[in-house]
């Protein structure tokens, strides 16, 4: 990879011929740029007092949206968490609750 970031900032202005041919994406690892948090109807909320730091939620999350620092769960990546609830389902200690999204939406880009 050239190291130069694929510039899609003007994508809305691209003509048909400016898109990569055949809808290819000429860059790797850019799914992080695509904010999918807005798809969520319920968000996971963790109760620190019940959490044993077993990391099962981190293992099971299909969107790598359980944030871990220093081998400890510190929260969720709400920019990419789609609210599937797998973390809450897998948590053996009932430490994760799915809370309906409402007017108090956390800020999503």
């Amino acid at each position: 990879m050239s190291g130069k970031k694929w510039d899609v900032s003007k994508m809305d202005e691209w003509t048909a011929e400016e898109f990569p041919r055949g809808a290819t994406i000429p860059e790797a690892g850019n799914s992080a740029d695509y904010v999918t948090g807005g798809w969520r109807s319920e968000r996971p909320v963790r109760d620190e007092s019940k959490c044993t730091q077993c990391l099962l939620c981190w293992i099971f999350c299909p969107d790598t949206s359980v944030r871990v620092e220093g081998e400890e769960v510190v929260g969720f990546d709400y920019d990419h968490c789609k609210g599937c609830g797998i973390c809450a389902h897998e948590c053996t200690f009932g430490a994760i609750e799915m809370v309906p999204e409402g007017c108090d939406l956390p800020e999503v880009k």
């Binding site: 990879m1 050239s2 994508m11 691209w14 003509t15 048909a16 011929e17 898109f19 990569p20 041919r21 055949g22 809808a23 290819t24 994406i25 000429p26 860059e27 790797a28 690892g29």
Partner: protein, 396 residues
Amino acid sequence: MAVEQKTVATTGNVLVAEAFRQCEPDVVAAYPITPQTTIVEEFAKFVAQGKVHTDYVTVESEHSALSACIGASAAGARVMTATSSQGLALMWEELHIASGMRLPIVMANANRALSAPINIHCDHSDIMGARDAGWIMYFAETAQEAYDNTLMALRVAEHPDVLLPALSALDGFITTHSIDRAEMFSDEDVAAFVGEYEPERALLDVANPVSHGTFAGLGGTFLEFKKAERNAMDSSMGVIKDVGAEFAELSGRPFDVIEGWGVEDADYVIVALGSTAGNARHVARELRSQGIKAGVLKIRIFRPFPFTEIAEALASAKAVAVLDRADSFGAEGGPLFLEIRSALFDAQKRPALVNYVYGLGGADVRLELMHQVFGDLADLADGVHEPGRLVYLGAR
């Protein structure tokens, strides 16, 4: 000046297999189906004998065959395959995926009827099902043309300004299985003509990572991708002509997207695709010797459709018969008729047109039928018949 070539007496299918071998595809994934079978059979033999270094993938269906071809092409390989009839029908969804992903796969099709009733013989019902799928379409009249078209199709498909898949169609049994005289290039001349394929974005190019087969369902970009595909198909006409001119120089065999016989001053013209052009030309020659101005227009490229070339070629005719070896049930005529009538709509001067659906499921295309059509055209020009009719030629 044309290069030295070897004269051979063999079938259309063997010549297509030879063309494949000479193009040295990296991958061929195919499933056998009558009357395409001898193409892949012959090619498998070349692989087994070490005459070509191709990864030959035997698959469980045509759906899998074209899927494997798509994956291989996205990986950056030169890919070729062949099918027919039900096989092409089973590939239907992949046809659109190959063109939408802009993968220059070349596929030979042995034109054959679609079931039901079951039938293994020639018509164009299968290939016409691919007409809206974004594939360039070459039609061969003879085994020679099947060989030539396959080589040209690869050059055109892989051209950086095109990058679309291409079909090289030959008539089932009539062209696939009849022994014909043809000229074959040396392997070196074909290698030089087709060159090396350098993919624009290959999955196996790990230094330049790329995703293929992406989602364009949000934000309205799908329309733009399809517009780019339409533009590529339209502009491929120039590339087809350029490659054809280069091929003609190399082979000594003239090439054009449409090929007329006596059309310039003809009163009555038959338009046909594939092997039937020969039958029509034979009768046109007879009629010419009797002073009747008959002509034949053969369409060699069906996609992109040569609208302007056809409108010009037919401008001075009095009456024209379009021969369709497939029907488009419920439409005003067969697929070729619809295109030709559309091509003539904006023309200043246009002939009376009549449509014949003929030869379905290998129904004999006898010379008497060609006489009947030319006779009808004279009546049409004299106002005996109404124009625009659809006739099932030779049907009881």
